[in-house]
């Protein structure tokens, strides 16, 4: 589904990713871990098409097609979804309005007609139950005045409604208490299926207690310094990043 080959990216001439190669297949869950400043979030954002990052070398193939020339909205329409580390507040745009506009934009790409309002509301409400969100939040402005936990759950709700083929979660666990973490993990697990893939970017191992990854990669200084299975995450939890980080220097 996704092949990243020798990816180099920089922002304002500062190189952040220094040759990442990664292959993600359908049905897999990959965890990208690493210390602060290792380039994890950069990788997530580059995949979603954030324009401030320049790809200076390497390639990203998604479903056999290069992503590099595609606008963020084109990537979204091809099934890529990024759950933001810091979800944006948009006063004046209601949550339900954004969900519906996004949902219909994806349907339009597939040549489907716009969804019926009642039908859509029922669908959204069912997904909201999965992440235990108060239905009143639908009519509030996007993320405005939401608590940290509500914002992250809102990201998961959007993901569940849009049903992406490749979901990238950028530190979705940060700032969550254990109950909220479980709810978010439950939502992510609900998306898991043999034809979808998930990339979890996280600093801590604890999210991986609830979403078990098939592969764990450790990023340090812009390179993948170690890859393994779920067991690797436990080792990192015990020994920290200092040992593996040295490899990348």
């Amino acid at each position: 589904m996704l092949q990243i080959e020798n990816l180099h990216t920089s922002v304002e001439n500062k190189e952040i990713l220094k040759g990442i190669s990664l292959s993600v297949n359908k049905g897999e869950v990959h965890a990208i871990m690493g210390p602060n400043g290792s380039g994890k979030s950069t990788l997530a954002n580059v995949l979603a098409g954030r324009e401030i990052y320049q790809v200076t070398q390497g390639s990203i193939l998604y479903q056999g097609e290069s992503l590099l020339d595609l606008a963020p909205e084109e990537r979204a329409r091809k099934g890529i979804f990024l759950a933001f580390q810091y979800p944006v507040e948009i006063p004046g745009v209601s949550n339900i309005y954004l969900l519906k506009a996004a949902f219909n934009a994806l349907r339009k790409t597939r040549g489907l007609p716009e969804v019926d309002a009642m039908e859509f509301l029922n669908l959204v409400k069912a997904k909201m139950e999965l992440v235990q969100m108060d239905p009143d939040l639908l009519y509030r402005s996007v993320n405005e005045g939401f608590s940290g936990g509500e914002k992250k759950r809102n990201e998961i709700l959007q993901m569940l409604v849009l049903e992406p083929a490749l979901a990238i979660l950028d530190e979705t666990d940060s700032g969550l208490d254990i109950d909220a973490l479980k709810i978010v993990a439950h939502g992510v697990n609900a998306l898991k299926s043999p034809d979808k893939a998930i990339i979890l970017v996280t600093h801590y191992q604890r999210l991986l207690d609830y979403i078990v990854p098939d592969y764990v990669h450790v990023l340090a200084h812009g390179r993948i310094v170690k890859s393994g299975n779920a067991q690797l995450a436990h080792e990192l939890e015990k020994h920290g990043y200092s040992d593996v980080s040295k490899v990348g220097e």
């Binding site: 954030r50 909205e73 979204a76 944006v88 004046g92 506009a101 849009l162």
Partner: protein
């Protein structure tokens, strides 16, 4: 006298016999005094602080004739389309809609209102019952102190408009549509509206100014409003003139009795060069004033909004919220004054102006001003100028929305609170559709 002003003298002398009310001495004197004042001062230059960012050179140099009210107004297909677009007849209940084309009221306006109030064309009163106008005309602001040259010119050349009187305890809901469709020459309409709400009266009055985007003309409109005790007026002004037109409009409000409430909603979209003024005199205790406005301009449009709120007596409140979106080479001006005089203790005033610039060449000059002479008041004010938030734009695009759609959603969201402050949902929808 400046040469370019001479045309105004010529216009007056050519038309003075036809100007309504000129057979009555005091009206003729009023007009001629105003003309003399105007000819003496002329159009202000940008050295005048009140006109610092709005140059009137184009207006000064243009050869602008007065609209002649001879034949009955023509309802062409094009005019009909413009009127239909402006109409709210089907959206608002109990609405009386009057249409004025080139300064002339359509002969048979929809008149089946319950006559709980009176509405009459100004020209008719000027000609036949001028004495009725004594308590209404030039009774809001002392023009010697607030000398807007267009108001003075309006006194000299006013042709038509409307006089609305809502008696004690009565209600009214009125939409006035002013359509200008010029003939060959560049022409001006000088309109004057006089509104009086009696004790406990409650009214919504909408003024719409419309024209075809290919037409150039000048509108000079002055509305004077007086509110008696506990009267409530919601006043909308849709400025949707031709993109080639000049529009100068001033609303003067006098709240000289306690507990009256004035809410103004200004929607400015049209005109090549325009200025909209709103001035409120809160001259009684416990009077309240809301000035809510939005402007959306692009291309080479120049749009100026000047407001002043005069708190003269204690315990008044005022709120002012103006928001603007500017694109292309557009130039906007906002100047909002709040004046709290010595007697106006316990005044509570809030003012803000926020602007969104969508291009690097758009420009806004904003100046919120606060002058306080009383010592026990609460006043806040501020202004901001910003661009579309890149982070929000990326967020929406990452959800599959096209760049243009995302920009549109964010600009609409920027105006959301101003639009939502308008109390009529049907009008909110109409505003959204015009953006």
């Amino acid at each position: 006298m400046i040469i370019s002003l001479q045309q105004y003298q010529t216009i007056y002398h050519n038309f003075c016999a036809k100007l309504p009310g000129n057979q009555t001495t005091w009206i003729k004197e009023l007009r001629e005094q105003a003309l003399a004042d105007f000819l003496q001062t002329g159009f202000p230059t940008t050295r005048n602080e009140e006109w610092r960012y709005t140059s009137l050179r184009q207006v000064e140099q243009a050869n602008i004739q007065l609209t002649e009210n001879t034949s009955p107004p023509l309802l062409t297909e094009r005019n009909n389309a413009l009127l239909q677009k402006a109409s709210c007849q089907n959206q608002l209940e109990h609405l009386l809609e009057w249409v004025c084309i080139n300064g002339q009221w359509l002969s048979s306006p929809t008149t089946n209102h319950s006559s709980t109030y009176s509405i009459q064309p100004l020209a008719e009163l000027l000609n036949h019952q001028p004495e009725c106008l004594v308590p209404l005309l030039n009774q809001t602001f002392d023009l010697a102190k607030h000398s807007n040259p267009f108001t003075i010119l309006n006194n000299a050349l006013m042709q038509n408009g409307v006089v609305i009187q809502v008696p004690e305890n009565q209600t009214a809901m009125i939409h006035l549509i002013f359509l200008t469709t010029p003939t060959a020459t560049l022409q001006a309409s000088h309109l004057r509206n006089l509104i009086m709400l009696g004790k406990n009266a409650k009214a919504t009055i909408i003024e719409s100014y419309v024209g075809d985007d290919t037409d150039n003309y000048l509108t000079n409109t002055v509305t004077e409003i007086q509110l008696k005790e506990n009267a409530t007026l919601t006043h909308y002004k849709f400025q949707n003139e031709s993109k080639k037109a000049f529009h100068f409009g001033t609303v003067y409000v006098k709240q000289a009795e306690p507990n009256s409430q004035f809410a103004s909603h200004v929607i400015s979209l049209g005109g090549l060069l325009s200025r909209s003024d709103t001035h409120a005199l809160l001259d009684a205790p416990m009077t309240h004033c809301l000035l809510n406005g939005l402007y959306n301009l692009s291309g080479n449009q120049h749009m100026d909004h000047h407001t002043s709120i005069h708190h003269l007596k204690p315990q008044g409140t005022s709120q002012e919220f103006y928001k603007g979106i500017l694109d292309g080479n557009a130039h906007g001006v906002f100047n909002g004054k709040v004046l709290v005089y010595q007697d106006a203790q316990k005044t509570n005033s809030q003012q803000s102006n926020q602007n969104l610039l969508l291009s690097e060449t758009a420009e806004i000059d904003t100046k919120p001003q606060l002058e306080i002479l009383a010592d026990d008041v609460r006043c806040v004010h501020g202004a901001t100028v910003g661009q579309l938030d890149e982070e929000s734009l990326f967020y929406l695009r990452s959800r599959g929305l096209e760049k243009l759609a995302a920009r549109r959603i964010l600009t609409e969201a920027f105006l959301y609170d101003v639009i939502n402050r308008m109390p009529h949902p049907a009008l909110r929808e109409q505003v959204k559709q015009c953006l």
